[in-house]
């Protein structure tokens, strides 16, 4: 299955992925409606996008009481808009924090790989996001652990 492979060291924090995602999904350039979210992982200069891992367990999918989350032809877990009632069980079931709730539409929303042409990967100017045949993985973890070290070492040294 093709997945969004993220290489954090290539991310410049430009946020084009958030704009492309929200525009593709909602017709509005609105990062708060993007399902890929860029965060800094040390003070200012180490960024990475973060989104649904399309995990094997599908916690969101099994949590849904009305089977509103299913697997699309490209293998993504997708929220069926007409079936979702907005109970938010999926948002707390997903242990990655990548299922969101839209308080205006009263529906859950998450990455659906844009049906096989992910807008974020297309928009990324540095190939920090690539849509490739790969095993999903913790793309950001080792990067964030290493780059975040300066944030925590002083605290540990001070015995906080």
């Amino acid at each position: 299955m093709k997945v969004l492979q993220i290489t954090p060291s290539r991310c410049t924090g430009c946020m084009r992925c958030e704009l492309a995602c929200s525009y593709e999904q909602t017709g509005m350039f609105q990062p708060s409606l993007s399902v890929i979210r860029v965060s800094p992982f040390e003070a200012h200069t180490s960024y990475s996008p973060y989104t649904c891992f399309q995990c094997a367990e599908g916690w969101c999918m099994t949590a849904c009481p009305v089977e509103a989350i299913t697997i699309s032809p490209v293998g993504a877990k997708v929220v069926e808009h007409d079936r979702c009632v907005g109970c938010k069980l999926c948002t707390i079931a997903c242990p990655y924090g990548t299922v969101f709730y839209n308080a205006d539409t009263h529906k859950a929303f998450k990455c659906d790989l844009c049906g096989g042409a992910p807008a974020c990967a297309q928009a990324c100017p540095t190939a920090a996001i690539e849509y490739v045949e790969a095993e999903t993985a913790d793309w950001q973890g080792p990067f964030a652990a290493e780059r975040g070290r300066p944030l925590v070492t002083p605290l540990a040294a001070a015995g906080v």
Binding site: V66, I92, G141
Partner: protein, 443 residues
Amino acid sequence: MATRHLILGGGTAGLNAITTIREFDRGASEITLVSHERPYSRMVLPYYLGRSIMEPHVFTASPARLDALSVIPVFGRKAVRLDASAQLVKLDDDTELPYDDLLIATGSSAVRPPIPGADGRAIENLWTLEQCRNVLAAIRPGTEVTQIGAGFIAFTILNSLLSLGATLTILEVAPRILPRMIDDKGAAIVQSWLERQGVAIQTGVEVEAIEDVGGRKRIRLANKPPVDADQIIMATGIRPNLAWLEGSGLVIRQGVVVDDHLRSNVANVYAAGDVAEGRDLVGGEAAVHAIEPTAMEHGRIVGANMAGQDRAYRGSLLMNIVDVKDLEIASFGKWDAAGAETFEVLDSSRPAYRKLLWNGDRLQGAVILGMAKDIWTTNDVGMLKGLVQTGADLGAWKPYLKANPWDVKRAYVACQTAGRLLPETVVGHPSIPAPLVLAVAQA
């Protein structure tokens, strides 16, 4: 001869057990499902009540679906006796159903306080579909509704009652609202928010009697003036449906005691969901978690085991989320652990509140409360669940979270939490969407 599985209860646990049995055995066994009501999702009844979904949307097991899953339905009946040595269950119409293995997933029923007038007119528990229909018929804009009980389940219907135009009063016997979901500080924020929305709330009040006065209801309170209403909603708790199992030989404490494979003490008898006393994920102790996620996981684990697999269940994580007029409220794990080291941060103007409870360097519980527009920009809600679920040692990131409790994501990612989670499954293989179970299995 094919194994005869007998499933009692068509709720979340029972239906998940059925789809999981079929995931593994591809239709090779016989499954009989006994359910008093035509199966529906209780979780989504508030949305039917609030008129955002139509009634057909709540049903979960259509005849076509049951046929595709090769399930023999026995609806409109209840189990009344278990004869474990003869391996049969007697129903309320005297039918006897033999089994090779049995799943007790008979769920809970709503209870009412034993007070005069508790069973009078214009009083409904909002537990069943039929009760929701009755309440929908009774509420018009301006109908004065008093809800007795301010627990989590009661709160899932608040938005619906307000959207129907009800004028709402809530009475709660405990000193705070949501007593088994959030703490005093969180409850104070929620109460203040609801009062700003025009909801009247009284806590620490005891209902002594309910009377009919002039075509309306009068609720008599101990040491307080009475409250009058057009319609009363009883949300005073639920009890698991276990009375019918007296004398069956099953060991029952708060629920049917089950091991990590969801087996009871009686051979070939399993229990799942609200009736089962299983294991808490965080503390490891015996617990009944009468919540939807536990019923779902129990159903999948027990279904795998009934189909001949050997799946141990790590334990269920207590978790709840509800919103009241866009104020999101969630709690996880040991959110009220006595004496636990806690980090708290409170901003009553937004409002926003979060509390992290520690067991050494492991997050054992959390409470999080905030406006929807704040909560859903990061979804720390899911990440907190992930941290509690994995029991990850946060190490140096724990003092970071103490200093920066709003920055959960950075600590979560830097602790490589996703890496720990990705190999985790509940039944041992990637999940298959339930509607596709037979199609995929037969491919």
